[in-house]
Amino acid sequence: MRTAYIAVFAMMALGTSVTTVRVAPSAAGTVSGKVTYTGTPPKMKPIDMAKEPNCAKEHAAAPVLTENVVTGPGNSLRWVVVYVSAGDEGSTPGTEPVRLDQKGCQYIPHVLVVQQDQPLDIYNDDPHAHNIHPLAKVNPEWNRSQPAGAPPIHTKWEKPEFIPVKCNVHPWMHGWHIVVATSHYAVTGEDGQFSLKGLPPGKYTLTAWQEQFGTLSQDVTITGTETKAVNFVFKATPY
């Protein structure tokens, strides 16, 4: 009994510092679900890389398909970014560098999510040159050459923005840098599944973005450690 009193007094004495510690991820929920489409999406078409013989040879067995709309079994959609677009102000900034590879005349990953001010490293793994040209509007637009064997480009984006990225030398190379303010985001895989973990109790707006079909948003409330199911269904058109 006496020990209990002492514990209470100790906590009172510690005051605010105790309350900040209490925000530990112990009470954190998860939002997970699947992104699918209805309607007719465009067909994935093989890319002709004949103009870059190295890349054509690399993909001779299985040509690379266009990635603007990538579908999977059960009408699932790949490369959809699901992120907390409201309710997560003051998210911790990312410090781990995010890696973009140019390999076989493709951007890997096709859709890359990075937090603002998070380090971004760009590698050229191909035996020939690329130019990386992010068509940013809010952030500064730049265009840098990266020949074979050049060291990685270390950069970052300072403001949230959805930035299309292209290589002018290889016009089929197209990717996205999605710069978000939140640390809660996911990119769907071929199965269309996503999962946002570690969400403290609160009200959030969840947004799903697909490069051709636009955005969908839903509100979700987390009260404890539950897992909420949220699904997004895009209306697909062939063009």
Binding site: A129, N131, H133, E141, W142, N143, R144, S145, N168
Partner: protein
């Protein structure tokens, strides 16, 4: 009488306050080019007389004439400019904008604006900077350092040729610099409009000037908004001059570079590997 004096003092005091405020606001919309200070308010009048028909009342490049023009007039709201002395992704200096306007853009509808006084041009530069919010939050980039141009040697030209191969300039500009490389036909600018690489065989002025120094700046800063990237990460400052010397040999002009190159080729042409995709000879 006493009341009157007080009122006068109060009013003049207010005037001083407003005046100070005016100066601070104004300084953000001023440019300094050489000994000339440009003012946005004065520049607006000149802009609305000479620039508005192409660049539009809002500076977004959608003026009345824009639909008839190719390439399209610059959209100043983006704050992206081709001809800079500053690294890719940064804003140009006031002098860069002043020089671009004075020089005009060869092969486009933008004429040289030398008939306007230096004061007029400095004023317009100040006004142009009011169209993009970027000028309010970001400073102009720091101009790149350009070493003194070394004496021309055949080694310099030959090394420049190696760079042209290694940096894959030929992918767009072609093996002979005719602007007909394998990627030339598919190039687009930042508005997704088709754009052509420079054809050295025309011998025309470059988009951003005529001197060797201008040529050096073009590939070391890149022409932002176009497919032409910056090579500053890959070409060492001194090597840049080698590339300049080689590029001059691609133009049908009476240059010391071409004369020296022709003299060397007369006896050494067989030693050269062709420029282009790596083949058995590379």
């Amino acid at each position: 009488m006493r009341l009157h004096t007080r009122l006068v003092a109060l009013v003049s005091g207010l005037g001083v306050l407003l005046g100070t405020a005016g100066v601070t606001v104004g300084s953000a919309q001023e440019t300094r080019i050489g000994g000339v200070t440009g003012h946005a308010a004065a520049g607006k009048k000149v802009y609305r007389r000479y620039c508005i028909l192409c660049h539009g009342p809002d500076g977004d490049g959608n003026g009345e004439n824009a639909q008839w023009i190719d390439p399209k007039p610059r959209d100043f709201t983006l704050g992206v400019f081709k001809c800079r002395s500053t690294p890719t992704g940064t804003l140009p200096t006031d002098e860069d904008l002043f020089n671009a306007m004075s020089r005009g853009f060869v092969t486009t509808n933008m004429p040289p604006w030398l008939p306007l006084s230096r004061q007029n041009r400095a004023d317009v530069v100040a006004y142009i900077k009011s169209f993009s919010p970027k000028w309010k939050t970001t400073k102009a980039g720091t101009p790149i350092t350009i070493p003194q141009e070394p004496a021309l040697t055949i080694e310099s030209i030959r090394h420049g040729r190696e760079l042209y191969q290694k940096m894959e300039c030929w992918k767009c500009h072609g093996a002979k610099g005719h602007g007909d490389g394998p990627s030339a036909a598919t190039l687009t600018d930042n508005r997704d409009l088709p754009i052509r690489p420079y054809d050295f065989s025309t011998g025309s002025r470059f988009m951003c000037g005529v001197t060797n120094r201008d040529l050096y700046k073009i590939f070391m800063t890149g022409l932002d908004g176009t497919p032409m990237p910056s090579f500053a990460d890959d070409i060492k400052p001194a090597e840049g001059w080698d590339l300049v010397h080689f590029l001059r040999t691609l133009q049908p002009l009476d240059t010391p570079e071409l004369a020296m190159w022709r003299a060397w080729l007369a006896t050494h042409a067989g030693e050269l590997k062709p420029i282009g995709p790596a083949g058995p000879g590379q």
